[in-house]
Symmetry: C2
Subunit: 398 residues, 2 copies
């Protein structure tokens, strides 16, 4: 039978990264292609302890239907945390709990974009979000990213010339995949441009707590006196991604519609997970936990950058040092004898898996000379082995 599919899914395809995961599943392949938090970063004992307590003290609360907006105590706890620590959230905003931050991308796009509307994003950008925008038939317009954030001239030009731009999507901290952090000056400039051209901003901040050096830069949402910023937060990197917990702090009129959309999507987010997160934030030392995460990631990131300096840089591959997050963006030399895509294929044949950079572009067929590596999932041994192989290969073929 020939199935009639909607226009929006006709060209939608599984993320290129997932295809790469098939190679990565081979146990003889060193995978530097994932984006998983380090398993040693999960507070397993605390979660087991809290979980047992909840299922003993309030099992019906954890197992029964709940509110679409989220567990009220968790909403308040996250609101207070974001307000006190980052000055995020105003009287015009409210907060809801979502099934991962990914659901924020989905609900917000559904709420503000008609099919054919334009979303401006960084180029490169997180493929999961791009696919979410694509699934509502949005046009994507990518703005090249520099070491301090989007190119402002290209951004303003896009705002002037693109039709029906509804929002700018940005990962301002330790961007996935480029690793860069948008400077405070650029955050202000991007906010001002959004106000000037009457578009909203979707600020996605999954890695914000994973800073390993330098100083925190204020969130764009903390500048939001005009009520144009929707902030997406995640528990995936600070608690557990398998629990699928995220949140959004957004202007109430937009949030109201996002709530109705969420009702139709999954009614509400897993109640047990919300209760666990609430107790973990409020009854345990959450800041101490975050500090320990930063130590884990700092050690791994520095180890990885040391290996890159030792094995890849001499072969002409360059990268921008990161201040946090999970990813490093490596660039092939200008005069490379092999294309980035060919290099990534050769790497797989040599049993190392990285993600070709064009997977993160709004148009995957565009030329790109970078690839992404992840240092949080592999062990130190795997990192060393994988980067050594990449270096040897680069010296031979580039």
């Amino acid at each position: 039978m020939e199935y009639l599919l909607s226009d929006r899914v006709q060209t939608l395809k599984p993320s290129a990264i997932r295809e790469i995961f098939k190679y990565a599943a081979d146990p003889t392949v060193v995978s530097l292609s994932a984006g998983n938090p380090a398993p040693e970063a999960f507070p397993v004992e605390a979660i087991a302890e809290i979980s047992a307590k909840i299922l003993q003290e309030n099992p019906v609360g954890a197992l029964q239907y709940s509110f679409t907006e989220g567990y009220p105590l968790l909403r308040t706890a996250v609101w207070d945390f974001m307000k006190n620590k980052y000055n995020v959230g105003s009287d015009n905003d409210d907060i809801i709990i979502t099934s991962g931050a990914q659901q924020v991308m989905d609900l917000f796009t559904k709420t503000v974009c008609n099919e054919g509307d334009t979303v401006i994003c960084e180029a490169p950008s997180f493929i999961g979000s791009l696919n979410s925008f694509r699934s509502y038939n949005c046009r994507l317009c990518g703005i090249p990213v520099e070491s301090d954030g989007m190119n402002l001239e290209a951004l303003e030009k896009a705002l002037q010339t693109e039709k029906n731009v509804r929002f700018i999507y940005i990962i301002a901290n330790f961007q996935n995949p480029s690793g860069i952090t948008t400077s405070f000056e650029k955050r202000k400039a991007i906010y001002d441009l959004a106000v000037k051209y009457n578009v909203m901003i979707l600020e996605d901040n999954p890695y914000g707590e994973l800073r390993i050096s330098g100083e925190d830069v204020p969130c764009i949402k903390s500048l939001d006196t005009d009520g144009i910023v929707v902030y997406a937060g995640s528990f995936s990197k600070v608690l557990s991604p398998g629990m699928r917990l995220g949140f959004t702090i957004a202007p109430k009129p937009v949030l109201q519609k996002m709530i109705v959309c969420k009702q139709g999507e999954d009614v509400h987010t897993n109640s047990w997970a919300q209760m666990v997160a609430y107790k973990f934030i409020t009854e345990y030392d959450f800041e101490a936990h975050l500090a320990s995460l930063r130590q884990i990631y700092k050690k791994k990131a520095e180890f990885c950058m040391g290996l890159l300096d030792q094995y890849l840089v001499p072969a002409g591959i360059t990268y921008e040092r990161i201040e946090g997050g999970l990813f490093i963006w490596c660039k092939l030399p200008e005069n490379a004898k092999m294309s980035m895509n060919e290099f990534c294929k050769e790497a797989v044949l040599n049993k190392v898996c990285v993600v070709p950079g064009n997977a993160f572009l709004t148009d995957e067929t565009e030329q790109c000379s970078s690839f992404r590596i992840n240092f949080s999932t592999p062990t130190d041994e795997q990192l060393e082995k994988g980067i050594k192989i990449l270096g040897k290969l680069a010296a031979e073929v580039l």
Copy 2:
């Protein structure tokens, strides 16, 4: 600031039931308006036991990112269960785990409907699904439900005259809100009409395991030699709704696109919940658990129907006896002196909350003389108190 919202959410509003819940939150009000499973039906001890075991034996599996399609062992276990017990699923089908059955409605609509396409549904029907279809700007066409299912003439006429019908949505067992079960003859006839007019069927079966009398009727999906039926199953009534677990068994070409949409919506469903469900199905006596649920609901349903016979029927309110599910559909007498909506408002003033039937229609402004009551959530005392009050009110005002 004036926010530009998408066309699809302009007219979308929170479910009328949720508005009623505001009254129901008043502890002095007896709520017969919910749709929650009976809390005593949750296998709390087993869940706590399994949960502790998982967090001890395989915490990283429960807490790390997982597959969009779902936990492989759970997919296989549910597939086998559905195949062996109901002959659901063929070589052309596959199964994925979803964040509640609600997500099946969302993903399937997103995959096969363009904005403006038509969905045929029962009238009345489940408001959560209707809102999900509405959220993709689908046109809804309601087919009146008789005591053995949809009126077939009205269905065929709709298939002939409605434009771009993409699927027929049906809850064949103990329908929400009408309580009726579609006969086997009508299931076959509906399937044949769908084949004849080249539309798909979305068979939603959240209450199938809650039969309290009579014999199981084969699922429409079990007749699906043409690969046109998408089956939506739920763990909400047999395990726990707070865990947000559902599944779909659907033709592979459609399912492939639903998976890509799910990636963009929530990446995957809570891993812990999936692992708990897997162990509960395979390591505990699941059939014995289902049998005990049926006992709980049989007792509650019969108690409720006894009260209706005693207090409402003498006042002229009629209802169809149910063979399962959670709801009973009560109809005001033809010559009632008060409209159904007025009666429901009077009931609230008298501290009893039921759901006005028009909330379940494709057009809520349409005339309707029925209301829905739920017997699974209230205690026996609450049921008796509430129905007594309704009877007294009916005798006075109808």
